[in-house]
Symmetry: C2
Subunit: 416 residues, 2 copies
């Protein structure tokens, strides 16, 4: 994706053979970072054009400062050949390292053999890395009888229970694998998912995918808190990307949590939450604020003046969203939220199909998403205005340590 407009791109393989020198990297976008920096080094990144390091202890795209746009894809694995699946994961990892560095896949969009399909689809040529991160996960379905992984399924990778009010569409739920692509330029995120789907042709198929046009949570508390489609600031008390203490406590799976292959990983819950925005928009300001327990303008908790003031739960209506979801009610459970707003055309009834694509990372869904959602599903007044219509849960393996490794390597080759 460097600006290669006038000359065919040098062969990526030749470059790697020559020690990975950045000959083709004209755009000076930090693409050398493929091996240099590591995900662990990333304090929140500010430069929207830059590349985010791919290799490291944890996968990027979790603690990374939340990018502006999302393309999320869940895949069904169509092969039952374990070796073929492993080959695909190696290919995907190689491509992901290039894409996140702002480079094209393989020989690029026009640098290969004219009689063969190009290795890269080309629509991101000339665009910056745009802080693209690609975060890989495995769903419960991967642990069925096909790949000999049944005894490796983490206890924490539970099938989510049915919550009151759930109205889940199977076609927008589940998946054997997932890739979360976040970038500040949506074309870069879409390009990445599309190329991974292309590489996986015949072995995997896209089960569902979701575009997110605006972030609804940030992991950089100094920045302006984004607003969701209800017009409220969202994620004020989210875990910050540089809060190593809360990341260790609530997000990263530790070595003693088990299984071994998940150490340094996390668990992701994805929920497509449709909002009845037309109904919400006819609700009074007072009622809207009562429902959240915060003011709409400043985002201050009831009885307080500033957004980041500590909420005083007793000052809020009994069933206010902030009160029901507060960690104090759930044994201190916190999640790192990374959701995005979506608008997917219309629903056939003259209403926009819009809402929140909720993404939350946590150390154990049994202690975090499940109890919190149980409480919300039962009592939250917000339920009059929202409906959960898609759901999935994934185990997010640790980061790819170095160029010799690949997504899921520990799962397939390490200790159970």
């Amino acid at each position: 994706m460097t600006d290669e407009a006038n000359t065919p791109s040098p062969s990526r393989r030749a470059l790697l053979a020559a020690g990975g020198a950045g000959l083709a990297l004209g755009a000076a976008t930090g693409a050398g970072a493929v091996t240099a920096a590591r995900t662990d080094d990333t304090a929140p990144v500010a430069d929207t054009g830059a590349a985010v390091p791919f290799h490291g202890r944890h996968q990027a795209g979790i603690a990374t400062a939340v990018q502006d746009r999302l393309h999320f894809a869940a895949f069904d694995v169509k092969t039952d050949d374990r070796a073929a699946l492993i080959d695909l994961l190696k290919e995907w990892t190689e491509a992901a390292a290039l894409l996140t560095a702002g480079r094209a896949v393989g020989e690029g969009a026009y640098g290969g053999i004219p009689e063969a399909p190009p290795d890269d689809t080309g629509e991101a040529l000339g665009l910056k890395p745009s802080r693209l991160t690609l975060t890989f996960g495995v769903g419960p379905g991967l642990f069925d009888e096909r790949f000999g992984l049944a005894d490796r399924r983490p206890e924490a990778l539970v099938d989510l229970p049915k919550f009151p009010g759930d109205n889940l569409d199977a076609a927008r739920s589940g998946g054997d694998l997932c890739v979360q692509a976040c970038a500040d330029d949506p074309q870069v995120a879409v390009h990445a998912i599309r190329n991974l789907a292309r590489i996986g042709f015949g072995k995997v198929a896209v089960r569902w995918s979701q575009l997110g046009f605006g972030k609804t949570s940030s992991t950089t508390p100094d920045a302006q808190t984004p607003r969701n489609m209800m017009g409220f600031k969202d994620g004020t008390r989210n875990i910050a990307g540089n809060d190593t203490s809360n990341l260790a406590k609530h997000v990263w799976v530790s070595e003693k949590d088990g299984p071994d292959w998940m150490a340094g990983g996390s668990y992701l819950v994805a929920r497509r939450i449709r909002m009845n925005i037309e109904t919400w928009d006819r609700t009074s300001l007072k009622e809207q604020e009562d429902i959240f327990g915060r003011t709409k303008g400043e985002g201050a908790p009831y009885g307080k003046r500033h957004e980041r003031d500590e909420p005083e739960l007793r000052a809020m209506p009994e069933a206010a969203h902030v009160r029901l979801a507060h960690p104090d009610r759930h044994g201190g459970a916190m999640m790192l939220r990374r959701g995005y707003s979506f608008t997917d055309g219309t629903d056939g009834l003259g209403r926009l199909d819009a809402g929140l694509f909720f993404l939350a990372y946590q150390r154990d869904v049994r202690d975090a998403f499940i109890p919190v959602q149980r409480a919300l599903a039962r009592r939250d007044v917000l339920n009059e205005y929202i409906q959960h219509v898609g759901s999935a849960v994934f185990a997010i393996p640790p980061g790819v340590a170095d160029e010799g490794s690949w997504w899921g390597r520990e799962l397939f080759t390490g200790k159970a």
Copy 2:
């Protein structure tokens, strides 16, 4: 949408009464431009945060430098009360002038009466104007028996013929009214459409809407030409936004074209073009280039070296896209294209529902889109990879001259 986080926003009406002084406009984003500058003044704008003038001879969003993101909505009119429709158009116009200036609608998202629904939905609070433009159009359905406009239908507003290969979905086609929202921040574009839909509740309903995540044409020839989902540069020879000669010749309806109410307006053809990207991605580089008649990297026409070299049609394969669509074959007809790439999840068959949302402005569709699309639909090799699945045509009235005027005023009150 200025940063009003700590104080309730002053009443917009009070501000207007006070001469429109920009008391609430803390973000210094040129919001005073609501009345100051005019659309006619806009040479292509570069500052992505700025406001684009709303009032002027032509509507903004046509010759305006193409913004990065799109939310397009077509509406059915649900009332048959002419006065109610006119009231709505006045309300819409008032809101559009505020929104494009980066301001909230009415009393804002939290500045009104607590017991009433807020005037603005709030999710764009704190965001910049982001070069938002709102471009309004009327479809053939508005000229039926309901509003007494039958004798005002422009001859040029024809129902498009069925082209070979069309596979149109009625639910993604047509519409009595349209609003094209373009902005560099998609949240700003979505917010605008959503608020117009909210204002129109009971009188209009969204028939279909389309998000575009990346532009595929530019009206600023000095900038990098964007690439479509096939990986090719698109719109290299598009009409530039400052090319007044070609705009007058090919885009703006002149006074002698008639009807009077359309002078200074244009006609818009919108087509949702689904791309079979999985098939395309398995096509050889040579075949891809033969199909377009341009190289994939540089975008040079066959036999030439540079993107902007004059195409030599005889150097191309007989059925190359560039050759078939070239103005020389269509009496010199040109359109100003403003299309966007889309990706709307999956199609249930493991494939991304992706493609090009084609938007083209022209002085007369009978001389431009129709003959060009006839030629392409019949012979273009590209048809193996694309399918037109949505279609609409709209008359785009001239710009709103000043604060006393409104969208469609000439249609409802002027000469036929």
